[in-house]
């Protein structure tokens, strides 16, 4: 409503006018949203974790466009689902480490195996220790913890985690190292070198690695997200990374090398799960069956760069996929030596303490 003061449109009513358009848009958001007539599907996932084409294909086939909300931290997923305010999600994508804890708090619905077609999935990714019998989860894609490095700067090959730590101390390499921010992935290598298992290690074992790691911290340049550009330009010459990130770096700088060091390393599996309070379970199963078909999974792999969990995937990728073998961790990976981290409330705080101390030591 315009009103005139002294023959001119008053300032205030002008502002009201301008506010009208976005306000109309805004108002519609405030009204309670009724569920879509055709059904709805709510997914909680990392961003960019489903290919746009495949989502569109699903929308076309089923008439339902999934709502994908994103989270930026595994802990945030847990916090959100753990609160009654986390209602409304149907499918969630937890990482393997958190599935046990989510299940322990009854936040995940046990899967009805009769409704899902597991036949196309790779058997070696099923029935793993973080979710025996796949009671709650279906593998979506997986990754390995490894090392990508510049062999010239490092002056040789890296075969074990000991080689990794030794290399980090060398003059050409010190100050150009990347460690991950994940407490398990930082402490794990030290535990493995000491012959321990990171899921059964005691608090003392974990604490015992602190001095060694803090001593190593002075060689570390960054703990932040992996940046292929840094490796391509030589700002970082030695980095912990997963195979897909390494592939990105090697794509930009082919002389880099990738290895999964011994004696042990990590395999993590991001998984589909259905939230305990899901309201659209049927739609969720429908979605899962659509997405678990091999054709879709091949396209997903090519889009996100992480290997889906279906059997025989490597042979199915299109031949012009660059560095395709790196998607799977390259040649010579001993899958039997890989374990998944399982978050254990009794030890996670010690892990995090050590991680904090290492990061603090690096910044000192």
């Amino acid at each position: 409503m315009l009103h005139f003061r002294n023959g001119q449109i008053s300032r205030r009513s002008l502002l009201q006018l301008m506010a009208a358009a976005p306000a109309a848009a805004g108002l519609s958001q405030l009204l309670p949203t009724a569920a879509n007539a055709a059904g709805a599907l709510n997914i909680f996932s990392w961003p960019d974790y489903f290919s746009t084409d495949d989502l569109a294909a699903y929308a076309k086939k089923s008439g339902v466009t999934p709502n994908i909300a994103t989270y930026n931290d595994d802990g945030a997923l847990f916090s959100k689902l753990n609160s009654p305010a986390g209602a409304g999600f149907d499918i969630v994508i937890p990482s393997s480490g958190w599935i046990q804890q989510l299940a322990a708090k009854n936040l995940l619905a046990p899967l009805d195996h009769s409704k899902i077609d597991f036949s196309a999935l790779d058997p070696s990714l099923l029935n793993r220790d973080y979710d025996p019998g796949n009671k709650y989860s279906i593998p979506k894609d997986w990754g390995l913890l490894g090392v990508v490095y510049d062999p010239d700067a490092v002056g040789g090959e890296i075969k074990t985690w000991q080689d990794f730590f030794d290399a980090g101390a060398k003059p050409n390499v010190s100050g150009k190292v990347r460690l991950t921010k994940d407490a398990g992935e930082t402490v794990g290598p030290a535990l493995w070198l000491a012959g321990k298992d990171w899921n059964t290690a005691t608090a003392d074992d974990i604490r015992g690695t602190a001095d060694f790691l803090k001593g190593f911290a002075k060689h570390v340049k960054t703990f932040a997200g992996f940046d292929p550009a840094a490796l391509a330009s030589g700002a970082i010459v030695l980095a912990q990374a997963n195979q897909s990130a390494a592939r990105g770096a090697i794509q930009q700088n082919p002389k880099l090398k990738w290895v999964v060091p011994g004696p042990h390393s990590e395999i993590w599996v991001d998984s589909y799960a259905i939230a305990a309070q899901a309201e659209n379970s049927d739609q969720a199963y429908d979605f899962l069956n659509f997405f678990l078909s091999p054709d879709i999974q091949v396209k997903e792999t090519e889009y996100i760069g992480y290997p889906a969990a279906i059997a025989g995937l490597q042979g199915k990728l299109s031949s012009d996929t660059k560095n395709a073998d790196l998607i799977f961790g390259g040649a010579g990976v001993d899958f039997a030596s890989l374990t998944s981290f399982i978050v254990n409330p009794d030890t996670i705080d010690v892990y995090q303490e050590v991680q904090n101390e290492v990061q603090a030591a690096a910044g000192a």
Partner: protein
């Protein structure tokens, strides 16, 4: 301070002083009530949790001071002190960059001021994270900054500033610049021109005018800017990670991790309460010492 209702009381024209006071109470009550509901009440939870027993992803209500003991332990205390040092440095740097820019805008004729101020604010119309991510691109080895610096012969060879404290401070100043410029500019713009001219007429040089007239009068703006930049810097999470390589654990990250990674709400709450108390004390001291919030009387 003179009661603003005094002048009304002495007036014959109609309105009772009570109506004026009611308005004051309304102006105070409206925001206070809103904040009570959406901010203070939830914070009450934090206070209660800080005394509770920690459990993974939950809270066992009770009364224990263990969380406070842990929060005051060596590591977290060091982290807190480092964060204060970090925020103070960042704040001072930011003010140093912002002040001349604000002064420049304030000295322009009034018609030119708005576009000049807008020019400083326009970059903020796009997502902050994207801009910080763009700084990663700019400061990367082999990136535009290295190219420009080599071109200007200010640097020879590769630029290795990413993932260092320097990059973090660049990012910090960048992020908080507008919030520093605005209050300083607002106060500078209000300094009456006659005062400045009087100073010059009395024989003061430009520098003397600045030091003895302009700078002291801009104190409220500086104090506001210091508060608006320094305090949020204490909780800064994003820039030290994206530009600093996530080295050194600052308070914001430490507390965040307690809630997310370790799911220890009790300890996180205790740390938050301690931070709150400590910073409140520091701010109160700052206000008392600088007396920077006093009115300018023209």
């Amino acid at each position: 301070m003179a009661d603003s209702t005094n002048s009304l009381v002495s007036k014959p024209a109609g309105r009772s002083p009570a109506a004026g006071r009611a308005l004051d109470h309304l102006l105070a009550a409206l925001p206070a009530l809103w904040l009570l509901v959406v901010f203070v009440a939830p914070l009450g939870f934090t206070l209660v949790f800080s005394f509770g027993h920690s459990s993974f992803g939950g809270i066992k209500l009770g009364f224990t001071l263990d969380n406070y003991a842990q929060a005051l332990s060596g590591f977290y205390l060091e982290s807190f002190l480092r964060t204060i040092q970090f925020a103070v440095s960042g704040c001072i740097l930011c003010l140093l960059v912002a002040y001349p820019a604000a002064l420049f805008i304030a000295r322009q004729p009034p018609t030119r001021r708005t576009p000049l101020l807008l020019l400083v604010l326009v970059p903020y119309f796009t997502s902050f994270l994207i801009r910080v991510m763009s700084w990663q691109i700019i400061l990367a080895r082999g990136g535009p900054a290295e190219f420009a610096l080599n071109l200007l012969h200010l640097l020879n060879g590769p630029l290795d500033v990413l993932d260092t404290q320097t990059a973090v401070f660049i990012g910090l100043v960048y992020a908080y610049l507008p919030i520093a410029v605005v209050p300083i500019y607002l106060v500078l713009a209000r300094i009456p021109q006659p005062l400045i001219e009087a100073s010059r007429d009395l024989g003061g040089s430009a520098l003397q005018t600045f030091w003895h007239v302009i700078l002291p009068l801009s104190r409220p703006g500086l104090a506001t800017a210091a508060l608006l930049t320094g305090v949020p810097m204490l909780g800064e999470l994003v820039i030290p990670v994206l530009l600093g390589g996530d080295k050194g654990v600052l308070m914001g990250m430490a507390i965040s991790q307690q809630y997310l990674a370790t799911q220890n709400y009790a300890l996180g709450s205790a740390m938050a309460v301690l931070v709150l108390i400590a910073v409140a004390v520091m701010v109160a001291l700052l206000v008392r010492l600088t007396r920077g919030f006093e009115e300018i009387s023209a």
